[in-house]
Each structure stands twice: as structure tokens, then as C-alpha cells.
């Protein structure tokens, strides 16, 4: 873990500019077993120091692959020089955002390391279980991946602190062959925030879920193509989370609002049915730790929840300090950087559509002819709110009952139109935290959602 060796260099912060100094370490551990063979087995660590200087709206940023007091001196100097150089060309003259209040955010936890041997043994145990209990598979891949961030942040006029975000996962990927000889695939991620020991001290607890995954793959072997068109669907909780992140979340990031996103003209207007409320949680959800807690961002802003939609009305954006000033909002700690060499940009944290009152069973029973879409492989969204999710697991719904499994497909829609069709919301939320969001830099994000009944475009043959 990082020890604080840069704090004394805050004395070099200049007057009349806003400066953030950051020490930052990322660690990665990765093991991949393909049909029992170890095909990847690696560990890596990267640490460094960065500084960002805001000079009347022109920013200089510098970073170096060294974590030391000398490195801190060099990056503060270089970031200042970069701001001066660019100011000659930028023409920007924006008043510095007002100081949001200062303080020190304490270290939230320790990072624990795990020997590669333990990781490989765990992967082998899971692989053996899959090999023995899933006889119809044509291929299996077990992936262990661990990444962690360790950051020490000093701000010239906001908060400082020391934060760590460790997370680790095991992905179980299964491939089987349909009767026609065509491969069908599915995967499930296990794990979450915390260390290897936090997540995998009882690996046998994964086995029932692995059995269920296998059953879904067997169902998918008999799967059918969805019928392309505009359909009534029940989105599962994981899909609800993807919707929160991709379809709405990105459009309400203030840098994209400034670029012309659909959220700009829709602030304080209805964008969803009144069953939809959505929040980007900082660190706590319903009194418990959120999937990937963020207590302080990389501009030194103490993290708080950012409400985005309340009862269908768009109520706010996610901001950094500059955009908050521009839109007359309060920054809530959304400016985040992934590695030491990244500048902070506006990112989501734990974005979630809140639960409603129906049960999942009620939602499914209410659909005469449609689809139950459970898991998504990936998703993307656009400024217009047009979104796409890949669907890796789904079933037909016929007369309120689940029918045949679906082969892989894709759903799309325009967020603020599609959300107005939400007419039933389940009383439970499912979270995921294993993914990366891509936006110049990768970022670990959590996303959650309830089951929702709605209308959506589905692709198919």
C-alpha cells in the first residue's frame, strides 16, 4: 500500500490556481484456465504521481512513473508549465470554481495481497467442478481477475484523503454445441469489492450458481432467435443496471450534456414514467456499503449521492467542479481517474434505478407475448440516449409463462422514450460491479436495477 510521502509538497501549490496532487497505484492479478490449461498467469503493479493545475479554466496535467517527494515536485512544476503553455492557445478565461469545503477523508480499508499459488488453486478447483458437473460442454474457461486502486489525494482548496478500491472476480465461461453444431456461450461473474479472502474463502458457495449457469447453457442449446421488432419485455435486474448506466447515466454526465446530450434540454422535465427513480450512489445503499464505494474523488470532492431522476423527472447531472459551477449544481464526487497517468474526468460510481412494489413473478405473469431478458454481455449509449445492450441470456414469455431460451441478441431504444413505457417495477435490486466503463480511460463502476416491464426494440432474424 502507498505510504504518504507527498503531503509535504503541498507547500509548492501556487496561489491563484487550483492544484490537485495524487499518488496512485494500480495492481492487477490474472489467471486464465482454458479447458484446464493455464494459458495466462500474470501479476502487475503500476504506481506514480500526478498533478493537475487549473489556471482560469485551462488545465495542465503531468504524471511520472515514480512515487516520491521528488516526483511530486516535478509533476507540480510540469503541470504548471503545461497550463501556461496551453493558456496561450486556449482563450479560456473561466473563474475558478468556489472552494467546496475542506477536510480529510480517512483510509477506508487495507489492501491484502494473495499469492498466485492460491489464485491458481482456486481456479483449478472451480475448473474441476465444471469439468465434472457439466458434461455436455465443448469448452470451458475460468478467469480470475483482480484489480485495485490505491490513491492519496491532496487538493489546494478541497478535501484530501487516502482511498483504496480492491475488487476481484472469477468468471466462469461455458460453451456448448447446439444440435446444428453451432456453439452457444454464456458466462457468470462471481466476486466483488474486497480481497481474495473476502470473496472466495468459501468457493463451494459458487457451485449452485455454476449449476444454474450450466442449465441455462443447456436451455440455450435449444434456443431460438428472437423475433425482431418492438416488443413488451421484462428486463432482469442486471439489464436494469445496464439501462441505468448506459442509457441514462452517460447522457447525464455533465461533460456530455455540454456536448449536446439529450439531457440538456430535459432538465426538470419528465423523462420516464413516475415509477422510475435513479441515483448514482457514492458509497452506501440502503444502509450498507455500495458495490464499489467512492468516498473522495480525484478533485478532492467528498463523495455524496447524486440524484438523477426522481419519480420520472430529470433532476440533476453528474459533475466535476467546473461543470457544477457552469450548471449551478453541487459537485458530488464524480471526477475520477483510473491510473496515475490519467486526469480526472466525470464518471459514474454506483448507478441504480430504485426498486418498486411488484414481485418478479407478477411482472412475468403479466406478459402475454414477449421476452424475459436476464443477462447482458455489453452495452453502449449515445448522446441522444439511443442505447444498445447485448443480451446473452433470455427466454420467451408466452401467456405469462417462460418459454424457450433465446440465442444471443441485442436490444435498443431511446432512453427517455423507453423509460416512459416502464409500467411495472420489481421490489428487489440486483447489482453488478465487475465491469469497466470506457470513456477515454477505463473505470470500475457498479450498476444496479430492479426488474422492469417495458417496451423495447429487439434484434433478431
Amino acid at each position: 500500500m502507498l505510504q504518504d510521502v507527498i503531503g509535504s509538497k503541498t507547500a509548492l501549490f501556487s496561489d491563484g490556481v487550483q492544484t490537485v496532487l495524487r499518488g496512485h497505484e494500480n495492481r492487477n492479478r490474472r489467471v486464465v484456465l482454458l479447458k484446464g490449461d493455464v494459458v495466462q498467469n500474470s501479476r502487475s503493479d503500476a504506481r506514480g504521481t500526478s498533478a493537475r493545475v487549473n489556471m482560469n479554466g485551462t488545465f495542465g496535467f503531468a504524471s511520472i512513473a515514480e512515487y516520491s517527494p521528488e516526483a511530486a515536485e516535478r509533476v507540480i512544476k510540469a503541470a504548471t508549465e503545461n497550463a501556461v503553455f496551453l493558456a496561450k492557445h486556449s482563450g479560456r478565461n473561466i473563474a475558478l470554481p468556489k472552494a467546496p469545503g475542506s477536510g480529510v477523508i480517512p483510509l477506508n480499508r487495507e489492501i491484502e495481497d494473495t499469492e498466485q499459488k492460491e489464485i491458481i488453486e482456486l481456479c483449478q478447483m472451480v475448473d474441476r467442478y465444471v469439468a465434472e458437473h457439466c458434461p455436455e460442454l465443448t469448452s470451458r474457461v475460468i478467469v480470475y481477475t483482480e484489480d485495485s486502486q490505491d490513491r492519496i489525494v491532496y487538493s489546494s482548496d478541497a478535501c484530501s484523503g487516502h482511498l483504496v478500491t480492491p475488487r476481484c472476480y472469477i468468471y466462469v465461461n461455458m460453451t456448448a454445441e447446439s444440435k446444428a453444431g453451432v456453439p452457444v456461450e454464456m458466462f457468470k461473474a462471481f466476486g466483488g469489492f474486497g480481497s481474495f479472502r473476502d470473496n472466495f474463502s468459501k468457493p463451494e458457495e459458487m457451485f449452485p450458481e455454476i449449476d444454474r449457469l450450466y442449465q441455462k447453457v443447456m436451455d440455450k442449446r435449444e434456443g431460438v432467435y428472437a423475433e425482431a421488432g418492438y416488443k413488451t419485455v421484462v428486463l432482469g435486474g442486471m439489464m436494469g443496471g445496464m439501462l441505468a448506466h448506459e442509457a441514462v447515466g452517460h447522457t447525464v454526465e455533465a461533460d456530455l450534456v455540454a456536448g449536446g446530450s439529450v439531457a440538456g434540454p430535459n432538465l426538470n422535465k419528465r423523462v420516464a414514467s413516475d415509477l422510475v427513480t435513479m441515483v448514482d450512489f457514492a458509497h452506501t445503499y440502503e444502509g450498507k456499503q455500495a458495490p464499489l464505494p467512492v468516498y473522495l474523488d480525484d478533485e478532492g470532492i467528498k463523495a455524496e449521492d447524486a440524484e438523477l431522476i426522481r419519480n420520472g423527472i430529470l433532476t440533476g447531472y453528474m459533475n466535476d467542479r467546473e461543470s457544477a459551477e457552469k450548471y449551478g449544481m453541487i459537485p458530488k464526487g464524480n471526477a475520477r481517474a483510473w491510473t496515475f497517468s490519467d486526469e480526472p474526468i466525470i464518471r459514474m460510481r454506483n448507478t441504480c434505478i430504485l426498486p418498486g412494489k411488484n414481485t418478479v413473478e407478477e411482472l412475468i405473469a403479466s406478459v402475454d407475448d414477449g421476452y424475459y431478458l436476464i443477462d447482458s454481455g455489453n452495452g453502449q449509449a449515445d448522446l441522444t440516449g439511443e442505447f444498445m445492450f447485448g443480451v446473452t441470456c433470455g427466454y420467451e414469455i408466452k401467456n405469462g409463462k417462460l418459454g424457450k431460451a433465446l440465442l444471443d441478441t441485442t436490444v435498443t431504444g431511446v432512453a427517455f422514450e423507453m423509460l416512459k413505457t416502464v409500467d411495472m417495477v420489481s421490489d428487489t435490486v440486483e447489482w453488478s460491479s465487475s465491469g469497466f466503463c470506457g470513456k477515454k480511460q477505463p473505470m470500475a463502476v457498479g450498476m444496479g436495477g430492479p426488474h422492469m416491464r417495458c417496451k423495447i426494440m429487439i434484434g433478431g432474424r
Partner: protein, 432 residues
């Protein structure tokens, strides 16, 4: 430079002292100067000084790798400990190996000295040209990056590669607006050895600006049809990489799930298609020189006139499957042009789409793809009609390369690829 070589020498001494008999390592130092434009004006300048060290250790056929950006003596010592521990934890597998001795080679590519003031001027010129020629386009983000790197790799078979590389990169993220109406995003990027041409004239940049300005008032398609889709060069590159990943890459050949497992030497695609990885092509900037396995990189033709020439196997996969290794682990994609002008291809299409972008789920090894057509235009009776929205395209990667209607004469050269437009039949296009 001398210090860097001394560091590599010292690393070898440390590995010898630890009695590690088989290994490969690579040390890299790099520098980035990045100019960031947000919503039309320069906002941030970013400098990154970075290092990287990677070490792979083979201990009794057990393989382990470690990496990190601390290449001081202390950092290198940690790399040795981590890689050795990883190797010793791994089961033995005789298929792990490194390439035989390739000799000692020095590679000098690209450009080493930046003209930052000149780069600022070129970016300013680009912004001014966009404002004048495409007044409804917003440059949400433009990134001009000048990158240099120096790397040195050695292995215990005697190979030593040393490389010096550098390039200018320019990427944009754009949309177009008219009052409260906004298009979706479009983006592209190019790499350059010099600043001798206006940025707007390189790669697909001008085409992207043109397309986004014409996309402000798109139509929604009704119903669905099976038709012709013309893949624009960026889109064709994306589809070809998906095809390579799912049909000929190491993982799908090793696990036996590839639908082209036994198709080498057979016709798998239209004879109009020739696909190669060509790091030595003059149009590719900073092409691969040494592969991840330690081979000297070679130009490799994967598909020639529709015939599959080879799978795309690394050394481990080759050893595992008894098939030939491919001495190319890069991404320098070069597709041969056809003999039809793009305008004539468009004129030949009864009903279809020009696909400017694809936003879809990752296809599996069955090759089925399904996604949203982004920045795309309807073609009817040989004419380009309006931009479309909420339109999906569905098909199969293996099928569309068999159903190639035409490959364009025109090529997009962006420093990282050489790519024509590729028109494919049999894609299902569906609207609301």
C-alpha cells in the same frame, strides 16, 4: 540510452544470480504530450512519463509473468520475485516456449522529435475548418497526442530487439446540432509521422464530419428487410477483427470451437476478399517488429482471394495444436482494394445501408452479430437516402464474408490500417 542498456544488463545479472535459466523480458520507457480540446477549445495539456517492465519466467515448463512500471533495481527485483512465484505456482505444460534465436536487431520507426507549436497550429486549423465547412458540427473532444517510446527485449535464446518509435496521433469525438436537435456521437482517429497535411484530410476524418452533419434529422425505418450493407472502413475493420477473434484466433482453435477449425486451404470467403496483417507496409506507422513470442514479425496473409491461408496462432497455441505458428501478434490490418468505385457499388444496391458504425453485442464463436446501425444511411434504388435511427442489423460473420458483393477501389489509410469499403449481402435490417 546507454543507461537503458545498462539497466537491461543489470537485469540479466540479477536473473542469473537468481539462477533463472529461461526467461524473456522487455523494458520500455515512454513519453506522451497530449493536447485536449473540449467543445471546440483547448482545455488541457497532459504529459505522461512512463516506464514498463515485463518478465516471463519458465521454470520446468511452468510459466509465470509479471509486469510493472518501476524499473529501478528494487522494481526489477520485485518483477523477478513475482514472475518466479507465478511460474512455480503453475502446472507444468511443455507447450510454453519462446522463439528460437532471432539475432540482434534495432528498429527505428516513426518520428522522435515533436513540433508541439506546429501540432497546436494544425489542431487550430482543423477546428477553424470544421467551423467554416461544417457549421453544425460540434467537436466535443479532440485529442492530439505525440508519443515516443524506446523498448529493449531479450530472451535466453539469444534474441535482442531494441526499438525506437514515435508518432503523432489525432482523434475526434463529434456530433451535430441544430437548435435542440442533436445527432449521436461519431468518432475516428489517425496516426502520422509528420504534420505535413491538414488533419481533416487524413483517414476518414472528413467523411465522418460530412456524415454527422447530414444526420441531424434521421428517419426511423418501418419493418425489416434483408439487403446489402456497405461497411465503411472503420466498420469493416471492426467486423474483420471480430471475424478473426471468433474464427482463427488462438483461443478458439485451442478449444476447438472455431467454425473454421479445419478450413485452412479452403474457400471460406468471397474471392473478392484478401486480408493481411502487414506491419512492414509503408502505409502503416510503427508496425509490429517483434512478436509477443519473441519472433521477428512478418507480414502475414490470413485470407487470400477468399481462401483461408492460416489460423492466427501464437507459439503456445501452435505447440498445443500441432499447427503452424504465425509470426505476427499485431493489428496492422491491410485489406486489398477491389476494382469497383464506391459510387458504382452504391448505385448497384436496390435496398440497403451504408453502415458508419456498429454498436452491438460481442458475437460469440457462432459468428452471429446483432446491433444498432450508428451513423448510417439508407440506400434505395442505388441512391443514398436519409440517415436512419433506431435501426438494427443482424447477420453472421462467416456468412457475410462469403456474401461480399464488392470491395471498393477507394482505400482509407489512417496510419494503423489500410481498408476499403466492403459491401456484403444478406444482412437483416430492422426498424421499429
Amino acid at each position: 540510452m546507454t543507461e537503458f542498456r545498462k539497466m537491461a544488463d543489470r537485469f540479466e545479472q540479477m536473473l542469473a544470480a537468481e539462477k533463472i535459466g529461461k526467461y524473456t523480458f522487455c523494458l520500455t520507457e515512454s513519453e506522451k504530450q497530449e493536447l485536449n480540446v473540449e467543445n471546440g477549445s483547448f482545455k488541457l495539456m497532459r504529459t505522461v512519463f512512463n516506464n514498463n517492465g515485463s518478465l516471463t519466467v519458465f521454470a520446468d515448463n511452468r510459466k509465470g509473468s509479471a509486469g510493472g512500471n518501476d524499473i529501478t533495481e528494487e522494481g526489477l527485483k520485485k518483477l523477478i520475485g513475482d514472475a518466479r512465484a507465478a511460474a512455480e505456482s503453475s502446472p507444468a505444460d511443455p507447450c510454453h516456449d519462446i522463439a528460437p534465436d532471432q539475432g540482434k536487431h534495432v528498429f527505428r520507426q516513426g518520428v522522435q522529435e515533436a513540433d508541439l507549436d506546429g501540432f497546436v497550429s494544425r489542431i487550430r486549423e482543423f477546428l477553424d475548418t470544421v467551423a467554416k465547412d461544417y457549421p453544425k458540427v460540434r467537436v466535443m473532444m479532440a485529442i492530439g497526442s505525440f508519443d515516443t517510446w524506446h523498448w529493449l527485449s531479450r530472451n535466453t535464446n539469444g534474441t535482442e530487439f531494441e526499438g525506437f518509435g514515435g508518432q503523432y496521433g489525432f482523434s475526434i469525438e463529434i456530433c451535430a446540432t441544430d437548435r435542440e436537435k442533436t445527432t449521436g456521437l461519431n468518432y475516428t482517429g489517425v496516426s502520422m509521422k509528420s504534420l505535413d497535411r491538414p488533419l481533416i484530410e487524413i483517414g476518414e476524418i472528413r467523411n465522418k464530419l460530412e456524415d454527422i452533419q447530414n444526420s441531424i434529422y434521421p428517419d426511423t425505418l418501418e419493418g425489416k428487410f434483408e439487403g446489402t450493407v456497405i461497411l465503411t472502413p472503420d466498420c469493416a475493420q471492426e467486423f474483420l477483427f471480430m471475424l478473426m477473434q471468433n474464427y482463427i484466433s488462438s483461443s478458439v482453435i485451442m478449444d476447438g470451437t472455431s467454425l473454421w477449425l479445419d478450413k485452412v486451404g479452403e474457400q471460406v470467403a468471397s474471392e473478392k476478399l484478401t486480408v493481411a496483417l502487414k506491419p512492414f507496409d509503408d502505409r502503416i506507422i510503427n508496425g509490429e517488429r517483434g512478436t509477443g513470442d519473441g519472433f521477428l514479425a512478418e507480414d502475414v496473409t490470413l485470407i487470400e482471394k477468399g481462401v483461408l491461408k492460416t489460423h492466427w496462432l501464437n507459439l503456445y497455441a501452435a505447440n498445443k495444436t500441432g499447427r503452424p505458428v504465425v509470426k505476427n501478434t499485431g493489428s496492422d490490418l491491410v485489406v486489398e482494394p477491389g476494382d469497383t468505385a464506391l459510387a458504382d457499388i452504391i448505385a448497384s444496391v436496390d435496398k440497403g445501408l451504408i453502415l458508419g458504425g456498429f454498436s452491438g453485442g460481442q458475437p460469440g464463436t457462432n459468428g452471429e452479430f446483432s446491433g444498432v446501425a450508428k451513423n448510417s444511411f439508407l440506400i434505395e434504388n442505388g441512391k443514398i437516402k436519409n440517415a436512419v435511427t433506431e435501426t438494427m442489423v443482424n447477420g453472421n460473420l462467416g456468412e457475410i464474408v462469403r456474401n461480399i458483393r464488392a470491395v471498393s477501389k477507394e482505400l482509407c489509410v489512417d496510419g494503423g490500417m489500410v481498408m476499403p469499403y466492403i459491401a456484403v449481402d444478406g444482412v437483416v435490417v430492422s426498424g421499429k
